[in-house]
Amino acid sequence: MIEVLIPILAGTLAAATPLIYAGLGELVAERSGVINLGVEGMMLIGAVAGFAAAVETGGGAGVGFLAGAAAGTLAALCFAVITLSLAANQSAAGLALTIFGIGLSAFIGQHYVSHSLPGLKPVALPLLSSIPLIGPVFFKQDMGVYLSFVFFGIVWWVLAKTKLGLMLRAVGESPESAHALGFPVFAIRYGAVLFGGAMAGIAGAYLSTVYTPLWVQNMSAGRGWIAVALVVFATWKPGRLLLGAWLFGGVTILQFHAQALGVRLPSQLLSALPYIATIVVLVLISRDRKLLQLNLPASLGKSFVPGR
């Protein structure tokens, strides 16, 4: 039985990794009060930049991650200038960024359609990987998965334990009050949005250089949107985000294994499972208004113009 479970669980972790990167980035941005619906676009820009850099330099996934992060940051910078400095509507600007990202990545990706990359080999961590069940699931993964754990730890620690995290939450709750206390509201929001872009870029680069190391147009396939939904699902808490990402990763992996296990369902229906799960979970969460209200950053989606 365990032999059947291990590949499913290990695969779940890998499938969840892009969601963890993108979700953590969006969580930080939303905690500062900025909703960036451009995650899907930033992921695709990161994916194509990472893939192109890895192919052109031959430097592998590491170079891909750096290039993806840089490209995602640049895309987020455009969004930040428009929504923070120019105080434009965040939802509209985010949607525009997604549309732009889909188009730009398809355009650049034309040159790379027939290329493929070697990907990353799993690295078994000494000692830890010999623990039964947990070892092969958690500690026989590629470096991209481990790096996502590191980022999770950093985000959790900063939000829960540091003054910077407290300031970020304060800005998201009431930028007016934070401004009155003398906090640099714009700098904090810029930082959060750029971090979100970098993380979405890495998520894309992980997809294109590690998870399925070849270029396919529109390869993020809605994962950016699932990441946005995950943040709500997680009620803006990193720990729940991790659980949610694994849940969705599991649903994604199950569809591959379902047929092998003899489940007689049309494959289209199985492929739709993660998206159906997203809708169901969001509906369930939204029913509990109090849970959302107690955790929702109160200024989410609202522009801040000092002195107005």
């Binding site: 540091t162 003054k163 407290l166 300031m167 939450r169 304060a170 709750e173 009431s174 007016e176 009050s177 934070a178 009155a180 206390l181 003398g182 906090f183 208004r289 109090k290 209200q293 107690l294 955790n295 109160a298």
Partner: protein, 518 residues
């Protein structure tokens, strides 16, 4: 009761304002204002809404830059460009509208405004110490959204005290407190003053100032109109300085008509939709024709929820609200208005009126029942005429029926909204905070209007935070505390002390009989 200040009021002034002026595009908020505060002095700044008190305090706190004038701090001329600079000098301010973050804990909120090392555990201990020492009990680990308004004020005060201020500014601090809590706050302030802290106390409540302060600067229309020792002045003489004439009084004649129940609230209970809301439990009250019934209490004790249940914005069980003998609890706001209910909400702009629409269009919003719409089509001339009559009858100062609602001052807009409802000859009128942010003259007019309305046979229900107002206009007064309503008691049989006790929730749960017996 009034101990002599232990620190003599001479020596170098702590704060000196010299000829401060500040002009906003449409108004001269401060005009050549000078002020001296000495160490250990409790100094009142007295004035009506719009007298320029808040602007002056913002200048001291660095939130607003004065156009002209100088600030001297401990004998030195200083420039205060922002609140951080003010805090660095030793100036602390407790705002009228708190600047706290709801979803953070008390100690997190305080940590945010303090510099230095970030250590929540040791800060929590310090917060407990300071709060104990000054009689301001606080649990540092509670979330702010779970605190009452009075407790939030304590957070603000403790936050200021942790910075060891030499000057503490309090902006209308008692508007959110029960009379008993006010007395406790005064003890804390006297203790601070005896330790040498100067206090600037902004208020429009004459009795409080006479009890607490040694000196008062009175402002009107942006100018200083007098300086006085409030203990040697009468409330009437202070009022003359503050508003330029005698305090107006209301006439409440005896109702001659038949006294019959018009609005009955029966065992009304409701869970709030809002996570920060209050649960209403077993509320019972009857409003009769010819009387004004007041509901006292501090906002946040179920006022918003009760108003929504009465106006019909959140329908309740059918039998819980009875209008002229008909059960209407399940009906929406429009259906209740059709049956003779009028409702004036607390938020004038955005709920009582649409800011960007003209007065004529705003009249149409509720008065379309007065034949202003025919066959689904608007009758523009009729709506303009309706608005014009309302403007004339209720003395609304504005640019005519075409003026935007947002261009009116608070008092004039309130007169228009109340007038709009009265002209529809309601059977029951519910008004929330009728004179909130309204100047003394317009307040007196509005209060008299409500009394006159009730004496024409209408049942009037007023929900207000201002105790003096309720004692002036109401025939019976109940208290809403923690989502429960005390029995309505005739005004002659109660006093501020008893109402204050009830505000802290100390009353027997009313039964339907007790409201009738009253």
């Amino acid at each position: 009761m009034n101990p002599e200040p232990p620190i003599p009021l001479h020596g170098e002034p702590r704060l000196q304002l010299l000829h401060i002026s500040k002009r906003y595009p449409s108004v001269l908020a401060n005009d050549d204002v000078s002020l001296v505060v000495r160490p250990g002095e409790i100094h009142a700044v007295l004035g009506e809404n719009g007298a320029g008190k808040s602007t002056l305090m913002k200048v001291i706190y660095g939130a607003v830059k004065a156009d002209m004038g100088e600030i001297m701090w401990n004998g030195r001329q200083v420039d205060i460009p922002d609140p951080a600079a003010a805090r660095a000098l030793g100036i602390g301010m407790v705002f009228q509208h708190f600047s706290l973050f709801e979803t953070l804990t008390v100690v997190e909120n305080i940590a945010l405004s303090l510099g230095g090392e970030f250590d929540l555990a040791s800060l929590a201990i310090k917060v407990s110490e300071v709060s104990k020492r000054y009689g301001l009990p606080l649990d540092p680990l509670r979330h702010v959204y779970s605190l009452s308004v009075g407790e939030r004020q304590r957070v603000e005060i403790v936050r200021c005290l942790l910075q060891n201020p030499q000057l503490l500014i309090l902006d209308e601090p008692t508007s959110v407190l029960t009379p008993q809590a006010v007395r406790k706050l005064f003890e804390t302030l006297r203790q601070l003053a005896s330790e040498g802290v100067s206090i600037l106390y902004i208020s429009h409540k004459l009795d409080e100032i006479r009890e607490l302060c040694e000196r008062a600067t009175v402002m009107r229309g942006g100018r200083v109109t007098g300086e006085a020792n409030p203990r040697q002045e009468s409330s009437a003489s202070l009022a003359r300085m503050m508003i330029g004439r005698e305090l107006p009084h209301c006439e409440a004649p005896v109702f001659e008509g038949e006294r019959k129940p018009l609005l009955e609230i029966r065992a009304l209970s409701r869970e709030p939709d809002d996570a920060f809301g209050t649960r209403l439990s077993d509320i019972a009250l009857t409003v009769h024709s010819g009387e004004v019934v007041g509901i006292a209490g501090i906002s946040g004790n179920g006022q918003a929820e009760l108003l929504a249940a009465l106006s019909g914005e959140t329908p309740v069980a059918r039998e819980m609200v009875q209008l002229c003998g008909e059960a209407v609890g399940h009906r929406d706001a429009g259906a209740r208005r059709d049956r003779g209910l009028s409702f004036v909400p607390e938020e004038r702009l955005g709920r009582g009126a649409v800011p960007a629409m003209s007065l004529a269009d705003n009249a149409l919003l509720t008065a379309h029942r007065q034949d202003l719409v025919r066959h689904g089509l608007r009758r523009f001339a009729a709506a303009r005429d309706f608005a014009q009559r309302c403007i004339e009858r209720f003395d609304v100062r504005c640019g005519g029926a075409a003026a935007q609602a947002r261009s009116l001052s608070g008092g004039n807009l309130q007169k228009f909204i109340v007038g709009r409802e009265i002209m529809q000859t309601p059977k029951v009128m519910i008004v929330a905070q009728p004179t909130w942010g309204v100047d003394v003259g317009a307040s007196a007019f509005l209060r008299q209007t409500l009394i006159d309305l009730s004496r024409s046979g209408v049942g009037v229900l007023v929900i207000s935070e201002e105790l003096e107002e309720l004692f002036e206009i109401c025939d019976r007064i109940a208290v809403l505390a923690g989502g429960r309503l005390s029995p309505a008691v005739p005004r002659e049989q109660t006093n501020a002390e008893a109402i204050g006790l009830a505000m802290s929730g100390l009353f027997a749960q009313p039964t339907p009989e007790s409201t009738h017996a009253a």
